[in-house]
Symmetry: C2
Subunit: 295 residues, 2 copies
Amino acid sequence: MNDNAPLFRQVTIIGVGLIGGSIGMAIKKHRLAHEVVGMSQHHASLVHALKHHAIDKAFNDVKKAVQNADLVVLSTPVNTIMSLLPSISRFLKRGCIVTDVGSTKVSIVETAEKLFNSAYFVGSHPMAGSDKKGSVYAIPDLFNHSLCIMTPTERTNKAAEEKVKIFWTRLGANVKVLSPMEHDKILAYISHLPHLIAYALIGMIPQEYLEYSAQGLKDTTRIAASSPQMWNDICMANSKNIIKSLDEMVKSLSVLRKQIVTRDEQNLVENFKKAKTKRDGLNPTPPAEKSNDET
Amino acid sequence: MNDNAPLFRQVTIIGVGLIGGSIGMAIKKHRLAHEVVGMSQHHASLVHALKHHAIDKAFNDVKKAVQNADLVVLSTPVNTIMSLLPSISRFLKRGCIVTDVGSTKVSIVETAEKLFNSAYFVGSHPMAGSDKKGSVYAIPDLFNHSLCIMTPTERTNKAAEEKVKIFWTRLGANVKVLSPMEHDKILAYISHLPHLIAYALIGMIPQEYLEYSAQGLKDTTRIAASSPQMWNDICMANSKNIIKSLDEMVKSLSVLRKQIVTRDEQNLVENFKKAKTKRDGLNPTPPAEKSNDET
């Protein structure tokens, strides 16, 4: 395939906020489609996306938005993706590829595979984003050096999977493949649990103590600035894995608690050392990705 | 007082790592002393501090280092400060002011007040630092826009307290005053607990999941790269407050857990919203302070 040829004639992005707007800008920057169509229920978002060249055309009607699309990208929170799947499925043309950006994958992929007949669904989770939301934060380089997890199953059309992989790769992402179940299990630990912890931590600190906070607390709780509704939905969609990771976290805290109470300094230092080694091993983030985070 | 006049003839800094080295550089930059003396058991640190003009003279002998000092700054981890107090107390000249940078204050202040007769102790906790340690990371602007908590008691000499306050202020810090007990209670929540959580979180995530981590996890666990020995010492010195904050954190997590299990979305969203409001209210950090954190 010619690396410079557009991958798709028409790409339709449903939801033109931070992620959807950035996808539109990146598609246009890298010339991956002849035409980018945006759909949103928020008029202001569409106006902003048009003005900032994230999309070429705007619709607030599902049928009009998707009926000619070769690729549809569902760029909304998990619950909205779930409710969009049946409504778009009636209007997709044969061979249309649909992917999404949802933070959980099992329920989305299962639902899409039941609904779609002549269109191809390929689950995706681009792990770029921010605690900020909205189209005003969209940037064309959001996916540069980011990770995108794709979650094909044995029912996924191989050609569609390959095309979606090329799509994310040309948007700058490093693509990894997991099953939907593996994805939801791993994300519970590396993303959903940290968000719950950040919310719980800042939530339990007395307000009057916060004037003494420094960078450590700010970093540890940065993701508690994320959207409450979106994280509620993720907790509901991935509750089983999240509860399991939460229980293990509490167990992990109780081990440290016991070591402090019994003044078992040898094992406390040992635990801190093991944790530090793991933290030191996390790849440093390239500067361009610095403000990104997974959702 | 003339703002440009040196505050002290001789300042002795014991421990010339990240904090001590930065104090030396800042003293010299702002001309707060005629002479800066450094003391360390680590020959390489002294050589580095001399070479980078953090200190003018170097000693590895306590008596020589402190006997002519007008201000002594104990810039070591808590446990070393505790063992330095009796050894320096014999050699201080009458009227010498001693302060420290320890991350916990009750045990240090109590011990110093028992030991010192003709010298004046004023507890300090400059909340600047990094997960990095060592003199190579020292910079003269480490305290710019940072917070320094001073912990005087009714036994603290008022003139000495005032002079230490001017000292930190001229180093660029914003000084706040707390009692040693208040300090240790508040710091348990805003600094010690977040460190424990960061260690526990990265510690409990299976190693093979870490390749999927993004910025959220990196930020949440950044401070788990901090010194294991130092954090062990802090846990030991402030165990009672830390255990209390840890128990409240676990309670806070169990509230979220219950809301997820019972699918109580209304209260879950409400909790996330309250947490987000608190997090949004944390003052943004000036760029210069970006890599700093409390210890």
